[in-house]
């Protein structure tokens, strides 16, 4: 417990004494009756003692024995909240590593929230329904195929609409982060949406300098890493993905965005899960947090 009764009493005494002081002072200054003036003056004298005791209670008794775990809870809330986002093709290992990171942060006492950012649709649902009615969306086996590129106007409108929805959702999440001091872990981000949209619409506007600038600004306060993996490994890891050409096309687009926005890419094809995780942590600049985590785990193990 970081708030203690003696401190609380100290504050209460100070508040009461200062209130009485101000009332008494007003009475002394603005009343003509001598009796009231005398009573007010006496009350100031009397209440100077609780004021002194209150101050002493706050200042004095300086410390409280704590465990490192309590310190951890206290200080983790003081660290500036993080915003981390992973992008990349299906099967690259984004979600796995995001959940690993979440576990580390949670064990360290951080308040974390994971958001899945691939599908931001909010105001775009009527348009999506229209796309279906126009026959631009069809089912291909277990996948839904969007062929918005067949209608140029619709392509532009749906792209802008979904980007607008993303911005809306992202802004709301950022506001909540500020209010709640969450550490944000975003599974995918605007880059993934743009690449999906490009595949569905083939809309060049999405890669115009203005839009690239917009994506860069959106990701400004968030550390982004692109996860890459070769297509065959991706298909082995995740069965519910499209074919090799589809993944290859997407990889090219991720590579392009990585170059344009100077985002670090981690290739997970060869490396094992723990070495990739260490690589991810290094790239996020969170090595010291990992060291802290290792220390805590070692401590817990030794206690057991």
């Amino acid at each position: 417990m970081l708030i203690r009764a003696d401190k609380l009493i100290g504050w209460i005494l100070i508040v009461i004494s200062l209130s009485i002081f101000s009332i008494s002072l007003n009475l002394i200054l603005f009343t003509d009756l001598i009796v009231i003036k005398v009573i007010s003056l006496t009350s100031i004298l009397i209440f100077s003692f609780p004021l002194m005791i209150g101050t002493k209670l706050i200042i004095y008794e300086p410390m409280n024995k704590v465990s490192a775990e309590i310190l951890l809870k206290y200080y983790s809330s003081k660290i500036k909240p993080l915003c981390i986002s992973f992008s990349g093709i299906d099967g690259a290992g984004k979600t796995t590593h995001l959940y690993m990171l979440n576990k580390v942060l949670k064990d360290l006492g951080f308040k974390t929230r994971i958001f899945w950012m691939r599908w931001p649709a909010f105001t775009s649902y009527p348009l999506l329904l229209l796309g279906k009615l126009l026959g631009l969306t069809s089912r291909k086996g277990s996948f839904i195929e969007h062929k918005y590129y067949l209608n140029k106007v619709f392509s532009k409108v749906i792209s802008l609409s979904l980007i607008y929805d993303f911005i809306l959702r992202y802004a709301m999440i950022k506001i909540l982060q500020k209010l709640q001091r969450w550490n944000l872990l975003l599974d995918r981000n605007i880059l993934d949406l743009v690449i999906d949209l490009y595949v569905w619409t083939r809309e060049r506007l999405l890669f115009s300098p203005l839009f690239i600038h917009l994506y860069g600004n959106l990701l400004k306060n968030c550390t982004v890493i692109i996860f890459d993996v070769d297509e065959k490994t991706a298909l082995l890891r995740k069965k519910d993905t499209f074919d090799v050409p589809y993944l290859r096309a997407k990889r090219k687009l991720y590579s392009l965005l990585s170059k344009l926005l100077l985002i670090h890419t981690i290739d997970t094809t060869q490396s094992g899960i723990y070495s990739t995780f260490t690589n991810v942590v290094d790239n996020l600049g969170l090595q010291r947090l990992l060291e802290l985590y290792v220390l805590i785990k070692a401590k817990k193990t030794s206690i057991k």
Binding site: T55, Y60, P62, V66, S76
Partner: protein
């Protein structure tokens, strides 16, 4: 400075000389000044009736009573005070053991030893460590807890972030962990600014991470000011540091002090150091150009000078007057900071008044 002339430095100078006696840099000056100290004066200081007050004075100046052995050679008188002297020797040894312990266990933690007065016979109560950030603080706390230390969190209004470790391996030394260079509630620099100057230096034959001399000077001066007093040990160490600070580095200190609203402390303490050094060594340790630059930047500089005009003699520990170190300091600090960092400006005011009231209420003892 002409107003130096009418201020006499207390005859405590004798102790100053003794404090310097193992310091090679000062040995020449010391021998000259020792010649000036008459034997009758020494007899008076070392009389049996005077030694208890001398001891109190040493302790209130963060100096060990071992110094008495250096000043007074009369063994009959000294015998009465041997247990006290041993107690201080033990305290100093405990602290050195603490430094060895810190050096050994916190190898993988980014920290620096601060407020360490590297002068002979300095008697410091605890080991103050500045950690790079909260993560490093937590790492240090966990390691220290694993090593059997008891960890304490300060709930004071004055030290909300400080963590203390005691009873490590049943030793009595205390380790204070600071996540910010924050005296009371006022942050006096950024950790980045301080850690930029990090280097490894030798303290008691132990290699410790330390701030560079200019930063060390800045931290000790601002800390002394925040506690409204400057001890002789601090003065001696600041003098020692001043000798090694280059002119260019003085201006770096001023820049940081100007940025963090602490020029009042640096200016006043610099004036005191110059008076002291000109009386004891015959010259000013802080260059005139630096003082003039501070005068230009610190709008209330005349207040510090006025205070120095008003005093006849400097006695240690120097207690800064409330008007200067509390009232004017809070005004200056708020004026300097409110545009850049309103919260720090408010905490600056809170700090000065908290320090003042805690001195009043807790009747802070002079002895450590």
């Amino acid at each position: 400075m002409d107003y130096h002339d009418h201020i006499a430095v207390d005859d405590f100078v004798l102790m100053v000389l003794s404090a310097m006696c193992t310091n090679k840099t000062f040995s020449k000056r010391q021998s000259i000044l020792l010649e000036k100290t008459s034997l009758s004066e020494l007899g008076k200081i070392c009389s049996k009736t005077n030694i208890p007050s001398l001891l109190t004075k040493l302790h209130s100046n963060s100096l060990s009573s071992e110094l008495i052995k250096e000043i007074c050679k009369n063994s009959d008188v000294l015998n009465h005070f041997i247990p006290l002297i041993f107690k201080d020797t033990d305290r100093r040894l405990q602290r050195i053991r603490g430094l060895i312990f810190v050096n050994k266990v916190l190898r993988n933690v980014n920290y620096m030893l601060i407020k360490d007065l590297d002068i002979p016979f300095a008697l410091l109560s605890d080991i103050d460590l500045l950690l790079y950030d909260y993560i490093e603080l937590l790492k240090a706390a966990i390691i220290l807890e694993n090593e059997g230390c008891n960890i304490y969190k300060f709930r004071l209004l004055a030290h909300p972030f400080k963590v203390m470790a005691t009873n490590c391996k049943n030793e009595v030394f205390e380790i204070d962990l600071y996540p910010h260079p924050m005296w009371i509630r006022k942050i006096v620099a950024s950790t980045d600014e301080i850690f930029k100057t990090k280097h490894f230096g030798i303290r008691y034959d132990i290699e410790m991470p330390l701030p560079a001399p200019p930063m060390d000077f800045y931290l000790i001066a601002t800390h002394a000011w925040s506690h409204l007093r400057l001890t002789l040990a601090e003065t001696l160490y600041l003098l020692k540091l001043s000798e090694s600070i280059k002119e260019k580095e003085w201006f770096q200190i001023l820049e940081i002090a100007h940025k963090w609203g602490t020029l009042d402390s640096i200016y006043t303490i610099s004036l005191v150091l110059n008076i002291f050094s000109s009386k004891v060594y015959g010259y000013s340790v802080i260059p005139e150009e630096v003082i003039n630059e501070m005068k230009k930047k610190y709008i209330l500089s005349s207040k510090s000078e006025k205070w120095l005009y008003s005093i006849k003699r400097i006695e240690f520990p120097i207690k800064f007057p409330a008007s200067l170190a509390v009232f004017y300091s809070s005004l200056y600090s708020f004026q300097a900071l409110w545009k850049k960092d309103l919260m720090n400006a408010l905490y600056g005011i809170l700090s000065t008044y908290l320090s003042y009231t805690s001195n009043l209420f807790l009747k802070k003892q002079d002895s450590i």
